[in-house]
Subunit: 484 residues, 2 copies
């Protein structure tokens, strides 16, 4: 009887265990394809109730899927056709989800997430001189950049950004973080004519930048080291020409702040006798590929220069509004044929890295500025955040659309949140409703970086702890400084 | 042995059941206070790492709490002081949370959530004549209003709105939904001089409105029936005066669209020989309490009228941008002393009911419009969404701040999302970063409507199903109409 009881008990305890597991676990995923399968083997199939191509056709496939192999998109079609042709090692099921290209953040200073909200609602010079510059001088070192960039990558992956154009200090550290977290990035090594956290002056920054680019160019297809001369008011003409010469020599593009604020335009007029874009053209700065951030104040004569020189323009509506830089003539530039993308700028002037909000704000701001509700429709801003942004940063032949042969950078957006109910038009919902928190899964170069809202490539709790600890020290230091 | 086994089995199965319950349930709540407790009994204690009073003191209490009894706030202080003085039946623990007054959405058309995204990026007349009006004529009945209002209340509770000023048709149905879901609402019965979904013309609407107000006035402190004459371009002077006379007679305020668009201003000038606010003043329309939505185009001479007549102005930045109505002179009106709140307008022109976005957009839009980053700081827009909004809708002595004696309308916002890391300034984060999805718990009149992101007073899956079904029929009908 004892044995019997013991066996009964064991069986029942086994049942308890199984019941606990089955009651508390999510439903198991479907099995991967059978080995005897005649279908072509692929690494990943990503499905969605809607698959938004963002390619030239503008196709939206209902109940679609994307097949991925070796980091590339090898097919896009209906889910049933894709499942007939391909057997995948890994799948991202599509119920209640939209599949679309990953978002391209064309201008940010990732590590500055560590300074988000440190000082808001201040006049530009007070903000810069009493908060941002002192914090940077005292605290920006390789460790700050590592923690800040990890924090930014966490937020960007969470929100569906797959590529970002960064401009900050300690670019090797940025590249290491990007290499590890799996995002795609153009990393601009900052060149500025003042003592910075990682260089003595412009010459020193340029020299170090050249070495950085040589170290990283061609090493990893996700990491493109480029130059980031700061602006025409922080570098003189000779310095700007020297950076361009080095960029041509190393065959890399340049990212720069351009025509951002009334301050810059006045400075340029007083110093060079012309506005910023005219000045840049006059010194041959546009002789190589250029990604120009902001471009709030181009004159009617300067817009054709941007078109002719194929300058990619990155619109940053939140930052332009928050720092009161002005309203960029986005619709005029698009109509003229300028390549245009979107960016968040750094989180210190935003205060997040939410590309959904940039899309929404871009559309809303153009409408009220033009007093025309048809200005910059949802499809146009979605293009700026994906395929258009890819063109603007010089990667139009590699990313930005769900097209066979492009690199597999794509996301799934859940649309089961109450703010999507009901859904008449998914494109409209993506622009006028979606939040960072709706993004469910993120794939870059065929690798899943976030699955069902879980980040797979960053130790987020460590980053949170390190960021909070460092921010505590920064806050104490600024409080002491601004008291004295 | 059989009996023994049976008993053992029963005990073990009981254990299985208990194990399942204990493994799958969230941690049990702390026990309510002991009967022998000398502390005063309260219904609810809501704690937070930060408690933001939004009262005249502007106090932010670290590790604070609010004690609630019989629907009122009876004390606010540090968590340890509150716990020393009060024993609560129910608690909302505060780790990682901010406690603040519930948000006040000063202008919306709740049921129009059913039309969100049905038609975007269109010229106003195309939008109205080919989409909104046809959909309303064909589909708006009591059932549409019930489902749409439930959907809106779900979204508003989820996003931290505790009071809304509504203006739509079938106000009895709206009142029933509000009664059941637990929100607070001023429900404006629409008066418009055309055939509407619930009336033949302005006279009929006014007659029905009077009956509605008589039915609901004083019935439930959360439900305030009021009049909603649509605008000065959809009602003539005599009709507007008749509505005001009825409002004075019944002692209720009025909500109206005012000075919203260039169209309205031109209409008013051509029809009445003066701009809208001047015209309203000339007919004595402001002789009773008025909640004016939009007010985008007040002249310098009209702003003092708003101050003198204590007109509450509701700013709707998303709608004003999306429909291209213009940029409201919010900072001028605030400086002049106008009572100002914020609203989302209906979801058909927004396309959600997200008050966080309205706060952020209000701040950003004023800064760029004024070319001044100090314009409309975070604290000012937080005030517009809480205590200022309460004043603007005539409830400043009842809600809008965490002050002893006010009604207990308050929310908890989680700040553990990555976009809040690090946190230097909670007020800044609430305006420049927070989303609807960060709101964790919502209390109205002392009753918990959402706890840890779970809505307690609405059958959300039924509402989702009904909304999707109705939207499917609307979409099919509009497609057929716009094809023919």
């Amino acid at each position: 009887m004892n044995t019997y009881r013991s066996t009964t008990l064991k069986l029942i305890l086994l049942f308890v265990g199984m019941a606990l597991v089955s009651a508390c676990s999510p439903p198991a995923e479907k099995e991967a394809a059978q080995p005897a399968d005649s279908r072509a083997a692929v690494d990943l199939i990503i499905a969605g109730d809607y698959v938004i191509s963002m390619d030239a056709t503008g196709d939206v496939i209902k109940n679609g899927a994307v097949a991925v192999k070796d980091g590339f998109i090898i097919d896009v079609g209906t889910e049933s056709d894709i499942n007939k042709s391909y057997a995948a090692t890994e799948t991202l099921p599509g119920a209640g989800r939209i599949v679309m290209p990953g978002l391209i953040n064309g201008h940010t200073h990732a590590a500055m997430t560590l300074l988000r909200g440190v000082a808001d609602d201040l006049a530009l010079m007070d903000w810069l001189n009493n908060y941002i510059f002192p914090a940077e001088v005292e605290f920006v070192d390789a460790d700050f950049v590592r923690i800040g960039t990890e924090l930014a990558c966490w937020e960007m992956i969470r929100g569906g950004t797959t590529t970002f154009v960064d401009m900050y200090y300690f670019p090797d550290t940025i590249a290491q973080v990007v290499e590890s977290c799996g995002l795609r990035s153009l990393i601009a090594t900052t060149v500025i004519d003042q003592r910075s956290p990682d260089a003595e002056n412009a010459d020193d920054a340029l020299r170090k930048g050249i070495e950085f680019i040589k170290r990283w160019k061609g090493k990893n297809n996700r990491i493109m080291p480029i130059f980031g001369p700061h602006a025409d008011y922080t570098l003189n003409g000779e310095q700007l020409k020297a950076v361009r010469a080095a960029a041509i020599d190393l065959d890399v593009p340049i990212s720069i702040h351009l025509s951002e604020s009334p301050y810059e335009i006045n400075y340029s007029k007083e110093t060079y006798g012309m506005t910023s874009i005219d000045f840049m053209e006059s010194i041959g700065f546009f002789d190589g590929p250029t990604i120009a951030a902001h471009v709030v104040w181009p004159t009617a004569e300067e817009i054709p220069i941007l078109v002719k020189r194929k300058v990619g323009v990155i619109h940053n509506p939140t930052s332009n509004m928050k720092i009161a830089s002005g309203i960029s003539p986005v619709t005029e530039m698009l109509a003229a044929g300028v390549y245009m993308g979107l960016g968040t700028d750094g989180a210190a002037s935003n205060n997040d890295l939410d590309m959904w909000e940039e899309m929404r704000l871009a559309a809303l701001l153009q409408k009220v500025d033009q007093m025309n509700p048809e200005a910059l429709p949802a499809t146009a801003v979605l293009r700026m955040a994906t395929s258009g942004g890819a063109e603007a940063i010089g990667l139009g032949d590699q990313i930005g659309a769900l097209t066979k042969g492009l690199r597999a950078d794509l996301i799934q957006v859940s649309f089961d949140d109450v703010h999507f109910v009901p859904t008449y038009d998914v494109l409209s919902h993506l622009v006028y409703v979606a939040d960072e928190q709706d993004v469910a899964s993120v794939v870059v170069d065929g690798k899943v970086l976030m699955r069902d809202h879980k980040i797979l490539t960053i130790d987020t709790e460590r980053v949170r702890r390190e960021a909070n600890e460092l921010a505590g020290r920064i806050q104490a230091a600024l409080a002491a400084k601004n008291k004295s």
